[in-house]
């Protein structure tokens, strides 16, 4: 009868756990998860949407930044990319879709029109989507090149990385209990 020899046990060192523990702050971990899987809501309204599609396609490959899962349902998306001219006729529809997106959510105003109305200083065009919904990143260009959108996305990732929502919640809770 042969018995298998038991694994040697060390009091100070456990090889079963080694490499499986990461020590970090919860905020940092959550931010890292959020920023690397941003699901965009493509609000393609004009020619900027063509560049948005190019950014999603193989050559520029937005999936390198974890944002390739374009969702056409606002309930499943994290970042609304407003790409194109927002007419007054469309404006409240954009607002409604934004309202349906769950928190946390971010907004990128892509191109001159979404940022400021662009060249359309006219009766029919909303002079910047920031008049209706809060914008995190503005991208200049008419339309911006895909590289510019990726740059904007990376800026947004940096912004998300600097958030400390959980710490703030904790502080509020402590103040409430005090």
């Amino acid at each position: 009868m042969t018995a298998t020899a038991p694994e040697p046990v060390h009091a100070a060192y456990d090889s079963k756990i080694e490499g499986n523990i990461v020590i970090t702050k919860l905020d940092a971990a959550i931010n890292w998860m959020r920023k690397n899987s941003l699901w965009p809501m493509p609000m393609g309204l004009a020619c900027c949407a063509i560049e948005l599609m190019a950014t999603g396609a193989s050559r520029y490959d937005i999936s390198r930044f974890g944002a390739e899962v374009f969702r056409f349902s606002p309930r499943q998306s994290d970042v609304m990319i407003v790409s194109g001219t927002v007419t007054y006729k469309m404006a409240l529809a954009v607002k409604r879709i934004w309202d349906q997106m769950p928190e946390p959510k971010w907004c990128i105003a892509m191109g001159a029109c979404a940022s400021s109305g662009g060249m359309f200083r006219s009766y029919a065009t909303l002079q910047g989507i920031d008049r209706l919904i809060p914008v995190d990143v503005y991208i200049s260009g008419c339309p911006p090149r895909p590289e510019a959108l990726l740059e904007g996305l990376m800026r947004l990732q940096k912004k998300i990385d600097a958030e400390h929502s959980l710490m703030e919640q904790k502080r509020e809770l402590i103040e409430e209990l005090a």
């Binding site: 007054y88 006729k89 404006a91 409240l92 109305g117 060249m119 359309f120 200083r121 006219s122 009766y123 029919a124 065009t125 909303l126 002079q127 008049r131």
Partner: protein, 190 residues
């Protein structure tokens, strides 16, 4: 029969109803009184084989009487001739629809109604086409400012006034260099 001969034929057929005709750069225009415009257009379609209505547009001769003018662009695929029919329209006068002659006129007439405020008699669907129902203005009229006017229709849409510092912004296609060609505030010496 070319467009020139067609204009002559129309003048013979409609007599006093034709207010004038003009030829410029090979394009023929015929003016007609509003009472006869539908009759003339029907004749163009049925007898002169203008089977394609290219466009309907309208002009606002602000401060003139009559104020508006309808413009119909006709084309025939059989004879490849082009004819423009114009007719002056006073304010508060309806224009007879041509949707029963060319069904494509439906949306063109709705656009004229939306942008200029001219109504059409007998139109099957006289609604706005670009702006929303309830928008109180007709934006292509000369007395409507380019920057727009404020309006509010709760739950549907609102409009504001666009900033026009230094504007309007004018594009100059064909100009040398991007700086001169792109839309910018430009002052032209008159």
């Amino acid at each position: 029969m070319n467009a020139q001969q067609m204009v002559e034929a129309l003048k013979q057929k409609f007599g006093d109803a034709v207010t004038g005709s003009k030829e410029q750069c090979g394009e023929h225009t015929i003016g007609v009184k509003l009472e006869s415009v539908k009759q003339l257009l029907k004749y163009c379609h049925d007898e002169l084989n203008f089977d394609y209505l290219v466009d309907i547009s309208s002009l606002d001769h602000f401060h003139a009487e009559p104020r508006f003018e309808m413009v119909y662009e006709l084309y025939g695929y059989g004879h490849h001739q082009h004819l423009r029919v114009k007719s002056l329209v006073s304010e508060d006068v309806s224009v007879p629809t041509v949707t029963d002659i060319w069904p494509t006129a439906n949306w063109h007439e709705r656009e004229v109604y939306d942008m200029m405020g001219i109504t059409f008699d007998g139109h099957p669907d006289m609604r706005r086409i670009l702006m929303w129902e309830g928008y109180p203005f007709h934006p292509l009229r000369k007395d409507f400012p380019l920057a727009g006017k404020e309006s509010e229709l709760p739950e549907v849409a609102f409009t504001g006034i666009a900033p026009l510092e230094g504007g309007p912004f004018v594009t100059s296609p064909g100009a040398c260099g991007t700086v001169d060609a792109e839309p910018r505030a430009k002052r032209f010496e008159t």
